[in-house]
């Protein structure tokens, strides 16, 4: 999220400087040029958006599976919880460019490096939320489940996970939005996506390209957050109290 914000701010500042130096006419020309370019190259932009989305979705699925399993695991082995969360915390504070570069040394240039880096980044929010979501369930609910003779496995799948789901989903949302931002940087290691537009634009000093990339990333981020939020609300039963709804 931070990275994304910083990037947008940087872009705005570049734009701002440009406008200050140029006359108003030139600024207007800039805008027209950008729109023209976007329309002209809409096929490529859409392709890259789909690529970006695919990268994020693919990574998100892996991240959810890995993180939820880790989160469940540390909810059972309390002594491991703090060390594991600590490691996730450290992973998240590594600068993204450094992390991507490091991945290249292991997995080489390409999709895999991007995916692995993104998964490592998204561990913390999902692992932490899975862990706290399970730990903070009402002990009376778990005691009655156990006292009635439910097996630990059934308690996990029928009671713990469904009840912790809203908290887990909040972590997933945080991870997804963060991931969309960092995925733009993954173009740097050849993982594709809208980052390509931005990097190419910077390289060639082609402003419309940079703007198109940035807008695309923002649209995906906002849309994702919205979909995850309302998707979760729809499937949630917490709010369902009366019959019929």
């Amino acid at each position: 999220m931070d990275q994304l914000l910083r990037m947008i701010v940087d872009l705005l500042m570049t734009l701002g400087n440009g406008t200050l130096l140029s006359t108003q006419n030139e600024a207007r020309g800039d805008l027209r040029e950008t729109i023209d370019w976007i329309i002209r190259r809409s096929d490529r932009i859409l392709d890259l958006m789909v690529e970006h989305l695919w990268l994020v979705l693919f990574t998100l699925v892996i991240a959810i599976v890995v993180s939820v399993i880790v989160g469940i695991f540390i909810s059972y082995y309390e002594t491991l919880a703090q060390p594991v969360l600590g490691v996730c915390q450290v992973l998240m504070v590594i600068p993204s460019i450094a992390m991507l570069a490091f991945m290249v040394t292991i997995f080489g240039i390409g999709f895999t490096s991007g995916v692995v880096a993104l998964v490592l980044y998204s561990l913390l929010p999902i692992v932490r939320n899975t862990y706290t979501g399970i730990r903070e369930l009402d002990p009376a609910i778990l005691e009655s489940a156990k006292g009635m003779g439910m097996t630990e496995r059934r308690i996990l799948f029928k009671i713990k996970l469904p009840l912790a789901r809203p908290v887990i989903m909040a972590g997933v949302r945080t991870a997804a939005v963060m991931m969309i931002g960092i995925a733009a940087l993954a173009a740097y290691v050849g993982a594709g996506g809208l980052g390509e537009l931005i990097f190419q634009g910077i390289g060639r000093g082609h402003r419309p390209m940079i703007i198109a990339g940035a807008i695309g990333v923002s649209i995906i981020a906002v849309a994702f957050d919205y979909i995850l939020y309302y998707g979760e609300k729809r499937f949630s039963v917490e709010g369902r109290t009366r019959e019929g709804n």
Binding site: D138, A140, G147
Partner: protein
């Protein structure tokens, strides 16, 4: 049914045992209430029976079988379990909540449905209305009923109940207690019931086990406990007002037979009849019922003066409260005090009029008993 021998529990990191060398035998169909102050080990004892806590030492025999040799899941599936916080699953409907154990036991759907509906009727919740609701849409008393239904649905021979009526208001509690006793009369479960409330213990139990600091002090019938407390601790626990506590032990219907009182008038009785009975009756009040023997109201002397009419129905006013025939004499007494009159009308489950008891009747009972 349940036999506890030398049961001891020491929690890790502690030197003082939470339960110390406890011996207890509970007969089939009995309600055994474990009572004592907080931290006396009563809940710990109960949780060792279904192995939520593993005993440090000693044995528990369920039907003669060492319970450490039974698979804990199997053991718990055959022991109903109710706790004070109820622990209903908030993401499941009432139906799904009650069907928990049948689902664990993989019953066929038809059998589950039949049983769940039967249990909902038993605890007084209409399945039509409640089965698709979520626990948050229920009142505290209704949730507690669901908790009891959930524990009983697979017909377990043994039930463990940890302060099941602790979290509801006193009026709801008394009602739930009476309902529960009515159900128990029919089902005859072997029940281990934990409470810190000695009045509840006396009311609910066949036997009472008084515990203090992890040890069993006395295990006796409520009546013996009241008349012969083993030591000062038990004597203090049952308190000084033992004759009042005795009222918990006797149900209204038990003394109703002995009380000889004039028949109630039907609502179409003549005014003269009302006047005559008003003079004869020791209540200074006339009870009026309708043709189906449902309680209609009462007529006092002032009603006759203030109101006009031909028949009894025109004069009577509604009573503010009644007791059911399975309530205790203590319930009856508190209704009398609450309403500020010296009598209370008794009705049965279907609100049919059963009789009337007075303060005098209660005094007679206490006098005979002590």
């Amino acid at each position: 049914m349940i036999k506890v021998e030398g049961l001891t529990k020491v929690f890790p990191g502690q030197t003082i045992p939470a339960v110390k060398d406890l011996n207890l035998e509970i007969k089939e169909g009995d309600v055994c209430v474990l009572v004592g102050p907080s931290g006396c080990g009563k809940t710990t004892t109960m949780k060792m029976i279904n192995r939520l806590y593993e005993p440090t030492g000693g044995k528990v025999y369920i039907r003669g079988e060492d319970h450490m040799k039974i698979d804990p899941i199997k053991l718990r599936l055959d022991i109903g379990y109710v706790i004070q916080e109820i622990g209903l699953f908030p993401h499941m409907t009432i139906y799904e909540n009650i069907a928990t154990v049948p689902n664990e036991k993989k019953w066929p759907r038809e059998k589950t449905k039949e049983k769940v509906e039967e249990l909902m009727h038993l605890v007084g919740l209409d399945p039509e209305i409640f089965q698709n609701r979520y626990p948050t849409a229920l009142s505290g008393g209704q949730r507690q009923r669901v908790g009891v239904a959930r524990a009983m649905v697979s017909d377990p021979p043994i039930m463990l109940m940890d302060e099941p009526f602790g979290a509801v208001d006193p009026i709801t509690r008394a009602r739930l207690q009476n309902e529960f006793l009515r159900i128990q009369e029919r089902m005859s479960k072997t029940i281990v019931f934990v409470t810190h409330d000695i009045d509840e213990a006396i009311k609910m139990s066949d036997t009472i086990a008084v515990m203090n600091e992890g040890e069993l002090i006395q295990h006796d019938t409520p009546s013996d406990l009241l008349s012969a407390p083993a030591d000062e601790f038990v004597a203090n626990l049952v308190g000084r007002h033992r004759s009042i506590k005795r009222l918990h032990l006797i149900r209204v219907h038990e003394i109703l037979k002995e009380v000889d009182r004039t028949e109630p008038l039907t609502e179409d009785a003549k005014k003269e009849e009302v006047e005559k009975q008003l003079e004869d009756s020791d209540l200074r009040t006339v009870i009026v019922v309708d043709r189906d023997n449902k309680l209609k109201g009462v007529i006092g002397a002032s009603d006759l003066k203030r109101k006009a009419g031909e028949v009894a129905g025109d004069y009577c006013h509604e009573v503010s409260d009644t007791v059911t025939d399975d309530a205790t004499l203590n319930d009856a007494l508190s209704v009398m005090l609450e309403c500020g009159v010296g009598y209370v009308a008794v009705v049965n489950e279907d609100e049919m009029y059963q009789g009337t008891i007075t303060l005098g009747d209660l005094l007679n009972v206490v006098r005979e008993d002590s």
